[in-house]
């Protein structure tokens, strides 16, 4: 089951903040976040594991609420380099038929203007 991301697109000016949400209908073990620039490969940003945590580096952070089966990615004081498509990837459990399987959301297009 594919996680659902919102919003589908965000347009910002440099310095503004954004939040991207990722929701699943199933209990999650982990959430990954990736950024993909046009014509390039997705690049890993961070992973959050079951246990309900928050992570961050630089001005990009994320939270994981396993009860709500949701994760949010926070981008603060956005820079031009933040532009791209952001994907969340969800892992359902650590074993069974879902072993090793990461299912990606449909993506959120973030555009940062000067």
């Amino acid at each position: 089951q594919q996680p659902v991301q919102s919003p589908q697109a965000v347009i910002l000016r440099e310095g503004e903040d954004a939040v991207i949400n990722c929701s699943s209908s199933k209990a999650l073990y982990s959430v990954h976040w990736y950024r993909q620039k046009h014509g390039e490969a997705p690049v890993f940003l961070m992973i959050l594991l079951k246990g309900g945590e928050q992570k961050g580096h630089d001005k990009i952070s994320a939270s994981f609420n396993e009860k709500k089966q949701q994760s949010s990615l926070y981008l603060t004081a956005s820079q031009l380099s933040y532009s791209g498509t952001y994907f969340c990837g969800t892992g359902l459990n650590a074993g069974g038929t879902s072993y090793g399987k990461l299912t990606f959301g449909q993506g959120t297009i973030l555009t940062v203007h000067p």
């Binding site: 982990s30 990736y34 390039e40 490969a41 997705p42 994907f87 072993y99 090793g100 399987k101």
Partner: protein, 114 residues
């Protein structure tokens, strides 16, 4: 030194042909994947190998056959290509299967079937 390298980067071929895409990683990771990204940017897992053993085999036409000669290589062979196979195919690797660590993606192979 490229971490995950795919060849070729572009592939244009006629319907009915057979083609292969090669992938190699020098990260020492145990798990490798093939993902398909369609024109709407949806990233869908196709196959995953852990230490040369197939662990994920999604509902993919049997015209697609992966092969992992060793844990650093994962190739994808496609028989009888169809128009609908046109997409970007990404190889990726991770230290542990799926949910525990981030994926490192190759630069992608853009396959166009005419």
């Amino acid at each position: 030194d490229t971490a995950v390298s795919q060849t070729p980067k572009y592939l244009v071929t006629q319907m009915g042909n057979d083609k292969s895409i090669k992938c190699e990683q020098n990260l020492g990771h145990d798990t490798m994947y093939w993902y398909k990204q369609d024109s709407k940017k949806f990233l869908k897992i196709m196959f995953s190998y852990n230490n040369k053993e197939l662990i994920i085999n999604e509902t993919v036409p049997n015209r697609f056959s992966p092969k992992s000669p060793d844990k650093a290589h994962l190739n994808l062979h496609i028989n009888s290509l169809e128009l609908g196979d046109s997409a970007v195919y990404f190889c990726a690797s991770s230290q542990d299967p799926g949910v525990f660590g981030g994926y490192t993606f190759g630069s992608g192979t853009r396959l166009t079937v005419v």
